[in-house]
C-alpha cells in the first residue's frame, strides 16, 4: 500500500490543479506562479546534484537552461508552426502533444552535451577554478545566442505561444501546467533513484574524499561526467518548459542573475538534500512573487509618511538587494540551510510509515 501513496497523491494533485485551472478557480497569474515553482524545483534539484552532492561549485546553470530553452523552442516552432523565419510546419498541429515532450528531451540532451564543456575540465581542476569555468561556459552560451541573428540574437525568439495554443486546441487542458508538473516529478524521480543507489553514492564519495574514491574503485572522471551531464540536461528541460510557459525567450533571461537565483535556492535548502532544494524552490518562488506586491505597497506607505523624497520610487530593483541579503542572513543564522544534508524522511521518521519511495 505504501508503494502507491506517493503516485496517488501526485496524480490527485495534478488532477486538482488541472481541473481548478480549467474552471478558472486558479487564474492565469497563479498558474504561472505554479509553473515558475515547478521550473525552479527542477533547476534547484539538478544544480544540487553538482553543488550539493558532488561538492563542486557550478554557477553557470542558466547557460544550460538557455541551451535547452532555445533548442526545444526552435524545434517546436520549426516543426509544428508556420513561421516566417523557420518556414512551414512539418507536422500538423494535432501532433504537438506528442512532439512537445520529445522536443523537451532533445533540448535536455543538447544541454547535456554542452554540460560536457564543464565536465571535461573538472577532471583536472576543482573548487574556485572550476567555478570560473562554469561561469565562462554560461557566458559562451549567452554570447553565442546573442550573436546568431537567425534565432533573433539579443532581441529574443518567439512563436512558442502558437505551439501551446495548438496543444490546447487538440485537447482542451492547461497543458503547460501539466508538462511542468510532469517535468518536475520526472526530475525528482530520476535524481532520487540515482542518488539513493550505490552507483549514485559514488558522487557523494567524490565530495567527501576524492582521493579515496579514486583509489577505492570509483571511476571519478566518469562519475563527474555523469553528474554534470545529468545536471545540465535537467536544467535544459527546465529551460524548454520555461520558454514555452512564457512563450518567449531572450538571452537576457539567462544571465548570471538567474544562475545566482538557483544557487540561492540550493543553499537555502541545504546541500545535498533533494527535499531541501524542493522546499527552498517553493519558498523562493513565493517570496519573489510576494515581494512584487510588497515593494509598491512599501513605496506608497513611505511616500504617505513622507519618509522618502517624492522624486524617489521604491522599485522592483530592490529584489536584488533582498536576495543577496537573504543569502547573507542564511549563512549567518543557519549555514547548513533549511534541511542540512538530510531528507524529509530523516527529519520526520514517522513519514516512512506512510510511503515507500523506490
Amino acid at each position: 500500500m505504501q508503494r502507491f501513496t506517493v503516485p496517488l497523491l501526485l496524480i490527485a494533485a495534478l488532477v486538482c490543479l488541472a481541473w481548478l485551472s480549467q474552471t478558472g478557480v486558479i487564474n492565469l497569474y497563479w498558474q504561472s506562479v505554479f509553473m515558475y515553482m515547478g521550473i525552479n524545483i527542477i533547476l534547484a534539484t539538478s544544480l544540487n546534484l553538482v553543488n550539493g552532492n558532488m561538492g563542486e561549485f557550478s554557477c553557470g546553470h542558466a547557460g544550460f537552461m538557455a541551451v535547452g530553452a532555445y533548442v526545444s523552442s526552435l524545434l517546436t516552432v520549426m516543426v509544428l508552426t508556420d513561421d516566417k523565419a523557420m518556414g512551414f510546419a512539418l507536422l500538423p498541429p494535432s501532433w504537438s502533444l506528442a512532439f512537445f515532450p520529445i522536443s523537451l528531451l532533445l533540448g535536455g540532451l543538447a544541454a547535456a552535451v554542452v554540460g560536457m564543456l564543464v565536465a571535461i575540465p573538472s577532471f583536472k581542476t576543482r573548487g574556485d577554478y572550476l567555478a570560473i569555468i562554469t561561469i565562462a561556459a554560461s557566458f559562451i552560451v549567452k554570447s553565442t545566442i546573442e550573436n546568431i541573428n537567425a534565432i533573433g540574437g539579443a532581441r529574443g525568439f518567439m512563436g512558442m505561444s502558437n505551439v501551446t495554443k495548438a496543444m490546447s486546441q487538440t485537447i482542451d487542458l492547461p497543458w503547460m501546467l501539466i508538462w511542468v508538473f510532469a517535468g518536475t516529478v520526472f526530475t525528482i524521480w530520476c535524481l532520487r533513484r540515482f542518488l539513493s543507489s550505490t552507483y549514485g553514492k559514488g558522487i557523494n564519495a567524490i565530495c567527501q574524499d576524492e582521493i579515496a574514491a579514486e583509489i577505492m574503485s570509483v571511476n571519478t572522471n566518469k562519475m563527474k561526467l555523469i553528474a554534470f551531464m545529468l545536471s545540465s540536461g535537467l536544467a535544459g528541460i527546465a529551460g524548454g518548459l520555461f520558454a514555452h510557459a512564457i512563450g518567449y525567450v531572450n538571452p537576457g533571461s539567462f544571465t548570471i542573475m538567474k544562475s545566482t537565483e538557483v544557487l540561492v535556492m540550493v543553499y537555502l535548502g541545504g546541500m545535498g538534500s533533494i527535499s531541501g532544494a524542493t522546499i527552498a524552490a517553493v519558498v523562493f518562488t513565493l517570496l519573489m512573487e510576494g515581494l512584487r506586491f510588497v515593494f509598491p505597497a512599501l513605496n506608497s506607505a513611505l511616500h504617505w509618511a513622507h519618509l522618502i523624497p517624492d522624486s524617489y520610487q521604491v522599485s522592483q530593483v530592490w529584489k536584488w538587494v533582498m536576495i543577496p541579503l537573504m543569502l547573507f542572513l542564511l549563512m549567518h543564522i543557519r549555514p547548513e540551510g533549511i534541511m542540512g544534508n538530510r531528507e524529509l524522511s530523516n527529519v520526520f521518521p514517522r513519514l516512512k510509515k506512510f510511503y515507500s519511495f523506490k
Binding site: 540515482f194 552507483y199 553514492k201 559514488g202 574524499d209 579514486e214 577505492m216 545529468l230
Partner: protein
C-alpha cells in the same frame, strides 16, 4: 609466479628524487613489511603501485599484467586494495555505504538500470548488500553498519577502513601505517586482526609500519628503504642486526 613485481621504479617530483631504482617482489600469500625513516619514499611507492602517481621510470607487473598507466580504479579492480596512513573513509556516509561504494568497479549496471530499477539493478544490489554484511560480520563491525565513521572511535575507523579494502576481494592488500595513532590495547588487537586476515583470506599483505612491535611480530620478510633506495631485505632477525639499517635509523656510530 610472483604476485607483484616492481622493477627499477623511479619517481622524480621536479628536482626531488623520491624513489630511485626500487625493486620488490611479493609472492602469493606473503606478508612483507616496508620500513624506513620518515620521508624515505614508502608511501610514494604505495601511491605508485595503486596507480595514483605515474612513475618517471620503471615497471609494475601485478598478476601478469602491467599496471603502470592504468587509472587507480582499474588497478583496484584488478585486486590491489589499500588503506591510508590518515584514515580516508567517506565520513558522512554510513559504514555500510562505505563498503557498498567500494564495489563501484564491479557494480555491473549502468545509469539507466539505476533509474529504471531493472532486474539487473535489483539483483546486483542484493548481491552487494550480502557481500557487505558478510565482510562486516567477519570483522565484527555489524553493530556499526548504520553509523557514520566520523562518530566512531579511531580504532574502529581503522577496522572499517581495513574492511572496506577487504570487501573488494583483493589479492594484494597494501596497509599504510595501520598502527598509526592506535594505543597499546588497540595495537594487540590490530596485530591479531592482520594475522587473522592473512590466514583467513590467504592474500598477500604489504605493510608500511613504524611500530617495530607490529612489523617484527607479523612480517615474514622486511624491506628497508632510505632516501628512496632499498638498503636491506631479509627476515626480521637479519634486519634487526643489519648495520646499514641501524645507521639509517640511528646515524653513524663514529660521530
Amino acid at each position: 609466479m610472483a604476485l607483484l613485481e616492481v622493477k627499477n621504479l623511479t619517481q622524480h617530483f621536479g628536482g626531488l628524487c623520491a624513489v630511485s631504482e626500487f625493486n620488490a617482489t611479493i609472492e602469493p600469500n606473503e606478508l612483507v613489511g616496508l620500513i624506513g625513516p620518515n620521508g624515505a619514499g614508502k608511501t610514494t611507492i604505495f601511491n605508485i603501485v595503486s596507480g595514483f602517481y605515474q612513475p618517471t621510470r620503471g615497471e609494475i607487473v601485478f598478476n601478469g599484467r602491467k599496471t603502470v598507466g592504468l587509472k587507480p580504479h582499474k588497478v583496484t579492480g584488478l585486486g590491489v586494495a589499500r588503506t591510508f596512513q590518515n584514515i580516508r573513509l567517506w565520513h558522512d556516509m554510513s559504514v555500510l555505504d562505505n563498503i557498498r561504494v567500494a564495489q563501484h568497479y564491479h557494480l555491473g549496471y549502468s545509469l539507466l538500470d539505476c533509474i529504471l530499477r531493472t532486474a539487473r539493478y535489483e539483483r546486483r544490489t542484493r548481491e552487494i548488500d550480502a557481500l557487505a554484511y558478510e565482510i562486516l560480520d567477519a570483522l565484527e563491525l555489524r553493530q556499526y553498519a548504520e553509523e557514520l565513521p566520523k562518530n566512531l572511535p579511531y580504532g574502529i575507523r581503522r577496522r572499517v577502513e581495513i574492511a572496506r579494502a577487504l570487501s573488494i576481494k583483493p589479492a594484494l592488500l597494501l596497509l599504510d601505517e595501520p598502527a598509526a595513532g592506535l594505543n597499546t590495547a588497540d595495537l594487540d588487537g590490530l596485530i591479531s586482526l592482520i594475522r587473522w586476515i592473512y590466514n583467513e583470506f590467504k592474500i598477500s599483505i604489504w605493510m608500511i609500519e613504524h611500530q617495530m612491535q607490529v612489523v617484527m611480530s607479523l612480517c615474514q620478510r622486511i624491506q628497508v628503504i632510505d632516501f628512496g633506495t632499498p638498503i636491506a631485505d631479509g627476515t626480521p632477525d637479519q634486519i634487526q642486526n643489519n648495520p646499514l639499517v641501524i645507521k639509517a635509523y640511528l646515524g653513524d656510530e663514529e660521530i
